[in-house]
Structure formats: C-alpha cells, structure tokens
C-alpha cells in the first residue's frame, strides 16, 4: 500500500495569527518587521498589504511609501516555529504522524487515516475547513510523496488530491521551484529557459547531474517516489503513567506490593532517563466490581528513587480494599519536576537540610502521621516574644532576617503566660518572691526590666516589663508585669518562661 502525505501551506501564518488576536487588523494592510543591518525589513505581510504592493524582504520605509496607511508590528523571533508546533500537536487528531515543515508548512502522513472521514476528499476538506475557521489562509494537497504534496500545495492549479502513482503527470506543468530546489539552481534553470518540470524531466540524468548537481536529482527522485524521504514527527506530551493488567484478579497485599514495585521500577527508570523526579503520584487499582481503589503520596523534593517511593506507598497499602480482586493497576506521576543532578561530595560533610536522606525521611513521616505535624521555624521581625518566629513554608526556605541574639530569651516558653501572685517593691523593682503552682519562690537575683511594647498596628493592649529572675534553688524564670505600675489600677504579674 503506497503511503499518502498531506502538505499544508500556511500562506500568511504570522499575520493570520496577529489578525486572530486583534480582529481589528483583519481588513487593514499591516506588516511585521524586524531590524536588519540598521534598517527595518518586512518579514511578513498580510494579504491586504501584499495586494497593495508590500512584500517580504522590502524595507519598511519603501512599504510605507507605497501604502501610507500601513501598520507596522514588531516581529517576534521564532514565532512561526512556535505556532507551527502548536498546530502540529493539534493536528494529531487527524493522524499520529505530524511533522513541522519550516518555514511555513506542516507535513502529515495520513496513510490509512482517510477512510475514517469517508474519503480522501472529505478528509482534506475537513482539515482545511477547520484551519480556515481558525483564521489561517491555508492550501493543502495530498499525494503519494512528500515532494509532490509539497509542490501541489504551493503551485498546484486545479486538483489538490493527486491519485496514487500519478505524481509524475501532476508535476509536469509545475515550475522548477516546486521541487524545493536551491535558489541558485532555480535561477540557472530559468536562464536556460527550463520553466516547467516537463522541460527537463526527460533529460538524461547524467546531463542533469553535471549541470545542476545531485541535489536536483535527489529532489526529483523524492517527488516522484524513487527516493525515500523521512519526516520528523512531533512528539505529543506524554503523561507519566504506567499500566499493569493482571491475568488473574489480585486480592492479596503481597500481590499488590509486587504490582506496585513493578510499576515503580518502570516509571522510575523513565524518570531517571529524563532527569526528572515526581512530587506527587497516585496508584490506582481497578476492581472487578467497577470500583477504583486509590492511594496517593507526595514528596518534599522530586524523587525517582523507586525504593523510597515504594516505602511511601507501602504505608498506605493497607487501605486498599481488593474485595473480589483487582484486575488493573495504574501508577501515575501527577506532578513531575526536573531533578538537578547532584554533585558527588569530595569530603564528608553534614548535608544539613539539603540532604536527600532527610527529605526522604520527612516524606515517610508525613506519609505516616499526616500533614501539619512537621515544623521548621525562621525568624520574624517582631520583638513580641510569641511573634518573634514563624513557621517556614518549606524545608529550603531561606532566612528572611537573622536570628536576634542581643537579648536573653528563655529556653522554655509557655504557650500562654500564667498569672502569678507576686510581692514586689514599687514602682519598678523586680519581685521579691512569687507563688507559682502553690510553691513560693524567693528571688535572690534579678535582671530587668526589659520593656516590650505592643505592636499597635497588630494588636492592642498593655506593654510588658520582663524580668529575668533566679530563686534560691538556682532556677531561673522569666516574669513580666503587664502594664505600668499604678496605685489606682490593678496590674497583673505573669510567668512566661524558664531559663536554662
């Protein structure tokens, strides 16, 4: 069965895209321009501008002289490649093999696809209709070879579908440029009066090779189907998913573990080859009775270590209920990130928080005991003791500011300050004794006060006067009085922490 190809030619791909984005541009002449050797050159012109005389390669100043109302838009490099790639991926709905044909076309291998749309004619019409609907000015042709499809799409006059093995007759009336030749060869053929393929297709091959080189013969052969030509298909984004169908339904935990291990090995091997690691994965078991059993894991940093991931899943395997059996297992990496390859260490140092073993440990702990139990703290710019640190959002979060070391702070801090009874000389001396939990502590030494004001933009209330005191047993406490000493008002003493 001969192969069939479709060549799609986008006559104004870049300008069509701009018209799509800004419908107001549709009927106006406009061009895309980019700087070249100190002047602006036209890189693309829309149909309206072309009919009025502006063309690619012209200086923008000349184009402006011809069309006073011309709009000029800056060209983006690589735009057409990007657009073609997007359209090529979209075209995978028509055939699995789609290739980009730079600078302004696509090549589709449609062998065995056309009957799904009824016939070749309907198939081609469907593609053209959809693309035109998007606003692209396209021409497309179908033939047995890439070369002929390309030539007919660009230079064909009446019929766009070349019947099988008819490429020879179809090529005859076309100009030499239809053979995808180099500019120099085309000019030489033109000079010799060979203005149609039919003029030279019958010449002896040896004569053609001598005068025009092997390239002409190669292109001719490719168009006629004597020479093979390959295309580089666009790869669609593949999801990181593995499947494992089972001959017999699996009902045991051991069976599930084996299935999981196999799937993880395959997935991790693939991730390793692509230097990626997964951050979240889900493992599903499709039960005979139609229900789906699912367990999910997350990791603190991208991982492709199958043993580690297996441990994370293993904690949750118990929750899978196989009932009458599971007949299909799937493993999907929901979130995938790049892994920065680690440099081997020259000397033995503590990895600190960047250690892979540590992040794997945290994954296991988070998997076992649930979220919200792991904390790490970074300093916060507040003097109020309860606000002087905050929970870090990640293990690798950098310190926003340095830790303050200028003031003594107790090793143990009560989550809520506890009211105590105190005997204290007025007005601002540290207490002489205080009663805490029924025990009277006689204070021998004291430091203070250290006044910490409320941050009024955050909360209202009294300031605190902190004292660091030591009792006769050598136990050190952090006490404070809330507010000023005042004869008329009551004020309260609190214990807030314990020094080492």
């Amino acid at each position: 069965m001969p192969k069939r190809f479709i060549s799609i030619w986008f006559r104004h791909i870049k300008t069509d895209w701009y018209s799509r984005r800004q419908p107001g541009l549709c009927n106006l002449p406009f061009i895309l321009a980019s700087p070249d050797h100190g002047r602006m050159l036209v890189t693309a012109a829309n149909a309206e501008a072309q009919t009025q005389g502006a063309g690619t390669g012209m200086a923008v100043a000349d184009a402006r002289a011809i069309i006073p109302a011309l709009q000029v838009i800056d060209d983006k490099p690589g735009l057409s490649t990007k657009l073609l790639k997007g359209i090529a991926e979209w075209c995978i709905r028509y055939t699995p093999v789609v290739a980009i044909d730079l600078p302004d076309g696509l090549m589709l291998e449609v062998t065995g696809c056309t009957h799904l749309w009824g016939s070749e004619k309907q198939y081609l019409a469907a593609i053209i209709k959809r693309l035109q609907h998007f606003g692209y000015d396209v021409r497309a042709a179908m033939a047995d070879t890439i070369g002929t499809a390309w030539a007919i799409a660009r230079f064909g006059k009446d019929t766009m579908i070349i019947e099988s093995t008819q490429q020879n007759t179809a090529l005859l009336p076309l100009p030499p440029a239809a053979l995808r030749l180099e500019q120099g060869t085309i000019e030489r053929l033109e000079k010799l009066g060979l203005r149609q393929v039919s003029n030279f297709i019958g010449l002896p091959r040896a004569a053609l090779r001598r005068r025009f080189g092997t390239h002409l013969l190669q292109r001719l052969g490719q168009a006629l189907g004597y020479e093979e030509e390959a295309i580089q298909p666009v790869q669609p984004m593949e999801t990181y998913q593995e499947r494992l169908p089972c001959l017999e339904p699996i009902i045991t935990a051991t069976g599930i573990e084996i299935a999981l291990e196999q799937l993880l090995d395959v997935l991790c091997q693939r991730l390793q080859q692509e230097q990626k690691g997964l951050r979240a994965a889900s493992f599903k078991g499709y039960r005979i009775d139609g229900k789906i059993e699912k367990i999910e894991i997350g990791t603190h940093r991208p991982s492709n270590n199958s043993r580690h991931l297996f441990k994370l899943f293993a904690i949750k395997i118990d929750s899978i209920e196989p009932a009458w059996g599971i007949e299909l297992f799937t493993l999907e990496a929901v979130t995938v990130e790049d892994i920065v390859p680690l440099q081997e260490k020259l000397w033995d140092t503590d990895g600190g928080l960047d250690d892979i073993g540590l992040s794997e440990l945290l994954d296991r702990i988070a998997g076992k005991i649930g979220p919200g139990k792991i904390h790490r703290y970074v300093p916060d710019e507040h003097y109020w003791p309860e606000h002087s640190f905050k929970a870090a959002t990640s293990v690798n979060e950098k310190l926003p500011t340095a830790w303050k070391v200028d003031r003594p702070r107790p090793v143990q801090l009560l989550s809520r300050a506890i009211a105590i009874e105190v005997t204290a000389p007025i007005p601002d001396y540290p207490p002489m004794l205080f009663r805490y939990k029924g025990k009277v502590h006689k204070i021998i030494k004291a430091d203070g006060p250290e006044r910490i004001e409320q941050e009024w933009w955050l909360q209202q209330g009294q300031h605190r006067d902190y004292y660091c005191v030591e009792d006769e047993e050598g136990q050190r406490y952090w006490l404070f009085r809330s507010g000023h000493y005042d004869v008329d008002k009551t004020y309260q003493w609190f214990i807030h922490g314990f020094f080492a």
Partner: protein, 243 residues
C-alpha cells in the same frame, strides 16, 4: 607476668567495647562536646557518638536546664551545618532562645505528635537516617524493648540520639548508653555583681555503660561548657560492699 595479664585484660576490655555499641569515631572527631573532666567518665575518654543518651526530667525548671545542656551539646554536632530533628508531644522549647547556645534554630525540624508510640516510631526512623546530625525525642515512658530498637538503629547509622524523659512514672532499665540528670544551680557573677549570671547546672551522670558515673558543676559561658567543680560520688555498688 602480672604486666602481661593486665595487658590481656585491657585488650579484652577494648575488644568488648565495640560489641557493646561503643565504636570509636573514625572520621568525625568531636573532641570538646563536654568538658574534659566529664569526657574522662566515658570509655575511650570520648563522648559516645552513635548512641542514645537518656535525660531524666522532672518539672518545667528541670526541662529548661536539660534543654539548655542538650542545646549546648547539639551545638557542637550542628557546627558544620548539620540538621537536627526534635520530636515531641509537649513542646515548649522556644526556638529563638537556642541561638544563645550556638544553634541556628532554622536547622532544627520540629515534629509535633500526640502519641508516644508515634514518637518512638518517628525517632527510630530518624535515627536510621544518617543525614541528620542528632535526634532529640521527648517521651515520658521508654520501655527496654523500645530503647533496644533505638540503640540498634544508631549502631547502624552512627547518629546520636537524646531522649528527654519528662516525669517518667518509673525509672526502668533501658538500653541507653548513659543516663543524665541536669538541675539548675545558682549562678554567680564575678565580684558579687548584681544580676543573673551565666546558666549553671548540676550535671549528674547517673549511669554510663563501661564508664564511671559522676557529678559535676558546669557553667555555659560564651558558647562553651566550663567545668567548675567535681562532686565526688561513691558508686552504689561500692557503698554496698563497704557496708
């Protein structure tokens, strides 16, 4: 003859130590974890790394004293960027205060659990991870089996573990290498100056495997432990013999 006999016994003692979980550290030398006088209480005269240390804690004041002493030890472990895990169910430690003991509080990962069983599971997993410099766990009860599991974990990974036993119901036998008790002492400033001085503790080494228990007064000054005085204690067994 006697000389050779003593040599043989010394050699045998040396051979027994590794079997009991005391391995000499080859690559990581932490010489000044605690003052030299305390170091002499341990076998090989070095602070046992890759072992589990047990601290008996009664009351919030002792918890503060023990927290300070442990923080002082941790500082030498974390000096070259190591991370520590602090597993607890009743955490009252104030992270910013650890800076005064030379620890970067952001290098500590706190794990807050509710169940003692979960704490021990997490602690065992953490002790198996040699990416950590040390692991601190706060539990009240520690059975012999659980302590053996921890000891086996550290023998493999060479991570050092600290267990702070808060208000334990019973003081049972454990497989931990040492048992400590830290209580506060009155601080002193030179020249009878007023105010509270540097933290000062009464450090009791109640039990140490193959070492000599002891009691010392220790002060923490300028990021280092400073030995003040040794209080001679007579080991229990000798007392019995004398009596």
């Amino acid at each position: 003859m006697t000389g050779t006999k003593a040599d043989i016994i010394a050699q045998l003692r040396k051979d027994i130590l590794p079997l009991q979980g005391f391995k000499t550290t080859l690559n990581r030398t932490l010489l000044d974890v605690v003052p030299a006088t305390i170091q002499n209480a341990f076998p090989h005269a070095e602070f046992p790394l890759g072992a589990v240390h047990e601290f008996m804690v009664a009351g919030a004041e002792e918890a503060a004293a023990t927290g300070g002493f442990v923080a002082g030890i941790l500082a030498s472990f974390m000096r070259n960027g190591g991370a520590t895990m602090w597993i607890s169910s009743c955490r009252t430690i104030f992270p910013p205060a650890l800076t005064s003991f030379g620890i970067a509080p952001d290098k500590i990962i706190f794990i807050d659990l509710t169940n003692e069983k979960e704490i021990l599971w997490t602690m065992e997993e953490a002790l198996k991870c040699n990416g950590l410099a040390a692991v601190v766990g706060e539990v009240s009860e520690l059975g012999f089996t659980a302590s053996r599991r921890l000891q086996l974990a550290v023998e493999e990974s060479r991570v050092t573990g600290f267990i702070l036993r808060r208000n334990p119901r019973s003081v049972n036998t454990t497989a931990c290498v040492t048992r400590w008790k830290i209580t506060s002492l009155r601080s002193e400033l030179p020249g009878d100056m007023p105010g509270v001085g540097f933290p000062r503790w009464n450090v009791e080494l109640l039990k140490v495997r193959n070492g000599k228990p002891g009691k010392w007064e220790i002060e923490f000054v300028a990021g280092r432990f400073r030995h003040i005085s040794t209080i001679a204690i007579i080991p229990q067994e000798q007392k019995k013999k004398a009596g």
